[in-house]
Amino acid sequence: MSEKIKNISIVILISSLILTISLWCILKAPADFSQSERRMLAQLPKVNSDSILNRHFMSEYETYAADQFPCRERFRTVKAASELYLFNKLDSNGLFISSGHISKIDYPLNDKSLDNATEKLSQIYESCLKNTDVNIYLSIIPDKNYFIAEKNKIPLIDYKTLTDKMREKTPYMKYIEIYDLLCKDDYYETDTHWKQECIIDIADYLAEEMDADLKSNEFISSFETKELSKPFYGVYYGQLGLPHKPDKIKYLENDILEKCRAISYASGYPKETVIYNIEKANGKDPYELFLSGSEPLITIEDPYAKTDRELVLFRDSFGSSIAPLMMNSYSKITLVDIRYIHSNAIENFIDFNDQDVLFLYSTNILNNSFSFR
């Protein structure tokens, strides 16, 4: 008798579960965007004979069905939790939690990517910098794994090899080492980036190494720390999908920065913008607070600067938060992100003449540099 009840229970429970989810899948209104993963979600593909015969419709429909699955975020959480806590895996999709940080394994060292990065930098050198009187520098920002991976025996790229290779292939640059000036607490717990309030000394050190430091303690001490009211759930938080306490984004303001003018060239012509974009901070990626996030070319100018030195900063997203902190040492900083502007187009916007040129890149970008244009 109990066998019969068990069989009936199995049939009723499982078929109701599958039917409920199935109906939910069909009736659920599709969402456009996944906030936690910061990406657009697949929409119902268009159907026609071509898309069916070449299977595009089917493969797009599979993506659509997975992207638009009801309670998708909850299911992702269940998966990550089961991997880490049930099956005791040390990472889930390459993401791990250690010392209070969520981080991502970036391993192994990608030689092809390093070659690509040095090749792109050399192209810029050859086409824009070679026959000018600019001073060229290179600095590399370590990923936060550098500080937490070894302790937890997480695979870590060989930083010495990476640095040596970058230096060896860019002999025209003076290398500025900043690894020892950073620690894990200088990075957000849920994100890949460094915190602006923790890198004042890095900005100062870089300026000093480029002989541009005006030794103004006044500039540093005048910073007022402001904090976004919105909690900051970084990129790793969304990718991992597990509960974690959010970070707080703080940013530094002072009189000098308030008087600075920021100009964006994203549309191809100059357009006034702001150093701290509160509107963007309330959008999908709050780290876009700093210089509006992904910008191909942006300048910050201090009309009241005590110096006429200029800096051209070739950078990734880490550069957005450090550049404002260097405004004491330069009258103008031009930030170039070669992931969004072709290296051949740089000369149309910048006249290279007597500036300091700093290539400041994080190891994440150098080890995955195929987005360089």
Binding site: L17, I21, S22
Partner: protein
């Protein structure tokens, strides 16, 4: 369409099952046929026509063979239909392999055809051949209803990755099936267990094997771990798929044959092949080995028969030399066992287990890579012949990370979990525990699929 996809689980299967149980019995095979064609077309729309041609040819040849029973014409018709059927398989599966090797042999580069392999062609071709031979041998009556025959050949639960269901096994069920609640419950249970084997274990072990393949470093222990993870992955992948197929078959009232029976507990390679991919092994036994004379001929012919069967078994798995070597590798062990080793193995249980595991691990290294260089590199590494370290920090990380899954997988290859389940199932609590565990497993598998992790079925390429 694959079983472990959102599309199959929540868009395809529920309406098909609902429709199937709502309509009268005489239309049930039509629902199976239509849903099987949709299922197949989802993966290979252009090859639906090929399958339809195969079905029509086998329908006509079956009727003709039966009509001319006892006459030479029946034999000729059987040979023609088998040749036609095999010609499709050879053209789609082996033409590039043959062209490449011909190019090498004659020293003239010939262009390859680059044709994509129709999913499941190796499986349904064998089903058709078994149907025709069984009709010829009078083991089965020719099917007069083309819908029923088409439903058998295209039956979506086992269409793309087996088990190879013989027509004789389900001939009666094609006409009349029994839909009992215990069969449906058993089918659901088997399906969810198979899904869990595939999604939770095989896919995770696939990541571990992938980490070995992508690693720039090499070490002795990780070579062994990767060999073990691939052997376990392929077992959980394929046996998981078979469980799902048999489970869906049960829901529809079919009894498909068992395809795996704890192969890794075998004490000889002969026993291993009685427990691994049973439907393929028995197919080759009944339709190739025995017709060639089996072991009832002289020793030389007997050895020849074994070599032919295992050469074909290797080639069935893929058009590449590593599969040929893989098949002949097993043939060599089977011959050695039959000649003298089996007596020794019977007396030494622990040694015999070690022997089987070692032989099978090496076989799957040969199986896993079409590049012979990779295979020999890994074998050399495993036995420490090329001065690689015992373990590296990177490899130690992967082993620690996948340790629990590896242990679960190893236990899962033994009858131990089934024995535990049996003990639980006779308790009163099982009325609640079993359905709840199955529901939780279903949700857990769904969470893995939603997250879009590693998900290919290894046996789809055959």
């Amino acid at each position: 369409m694959i079983f472990s996809s959102i599309t199959f689980l929540y868009y395809f299967l529920p309406p098909v099952i609902l429709l199937y149980f709502l309509i009268p019995a005489k239309f049930k095979n039509i629902i199976i046929l239509i849903s099987s064609f949709i299922f197949y077309a989802w993966g290979e729309p252009k090859y639906v026509l090929l399958m339809a041609i195969d079905i029509i040819l086998s329908y006509i040849s079956g009727l003709l063979i039966e009509r001319f029973h006892g006459k030479t014409l029946a034999k000729i018709l059987l040979l023609i239909s088998i040749c036609l059927c095999l010609s499709f398989l050879i053209f789609f599966k082996y033409s590039d392999f043959m062209l490449e090797n011909l190019s090498k042999a004659i020293g003239v580069k010939m262009p390859t055809l680059n044709i994509s392999l129709p999913i499941g062609i190796s499986f349904y071709t064998f089903q058709i051949i078994s149907y025709e031979i069984d009709v010829y041998r009078k083991n089965a009556n020719a099917q007069r209803n083309i819908i029923d025959l088409a439903a058998y050949i295209s039956l979506f639960p086992q269409l793309v990755a087996g088990p190879i269901v013989r027509y004789t096994d389900i001939e009666n069920q094609l006409k009349k099936r029994c839909h009992k609640i215990e069969n449906i419950a058993f089918g659901i249970k088997l399906f969810i267990i198979g899904l869990s084997k595939k999604v939770l274990i095989a896919n995770t072990l696939g990541e571990l094997f992938g980490a070995y393949s992508e690693s720039n470093q090499h070490s002795i222990i990780f070579s062994w771990i990767s060999a073990a993870s691939y052997a376990l992955q392929i077992y959980f992948d394929f046996s998981g798929y078979s469980d799902m197929a048999i489970g869906i078959g049960k829901i529809f009232g079919f009894d498909f044959c068992k395809n795996f029976n704890y192969p890794y507990i075998s004490k000889s390679i002969t026993e291993f092949w009685r427990r691994w991919h049973i439907s393929l092994g028995s197919w080759f036994r009944d339709y190739v080995y025995i017709p060639l004379g089996g072991n009832r001929t002289g020793k030389i012919k007997w050895l020849r028969n074994i070599l032919i069967v295992w050469l074909l078994t290797g080639l069935w798995h893929g058009a590449s030399w590593n599969f040929v070597i893989w098949g002949l590798y097993f043939a060599a062990f089977l011959i050695i066992e039959k000649l003298f080793l089996v007596k020794f193995l019977d007396k030494h249980k622990i040694l015999s287990h070690i022997y089987v595991i070692l032989t099978v691990l090496i076989s799957f290294i040969i199986f896993s890579s079409e590049d012979i260089k990779n295979t020999s590199r890994q074998l050399i590494e495993m036995f420490g012949f090329n001065k690689v370290p015992i373990i590296t920090a990177e490899h130690s990380y992967y082993i620690r990370s996948y340790f629990v899954v590896l242990v679960i997988a190893i236990i899962g290859t033994t009858p131990f979990p089934k024995q535990i389940m049996k003990k639980i199932s006779i308790t009163k609590a099982a009325v609640i525990i079993e359905p709840v565990i199955l529901a939780l497993l279903m949700l857990l598998c769904t969470s893995y699929i939603v997250d879009g992790s590693f998900n290919p079925f290894l046996y789809f390429r055959f």
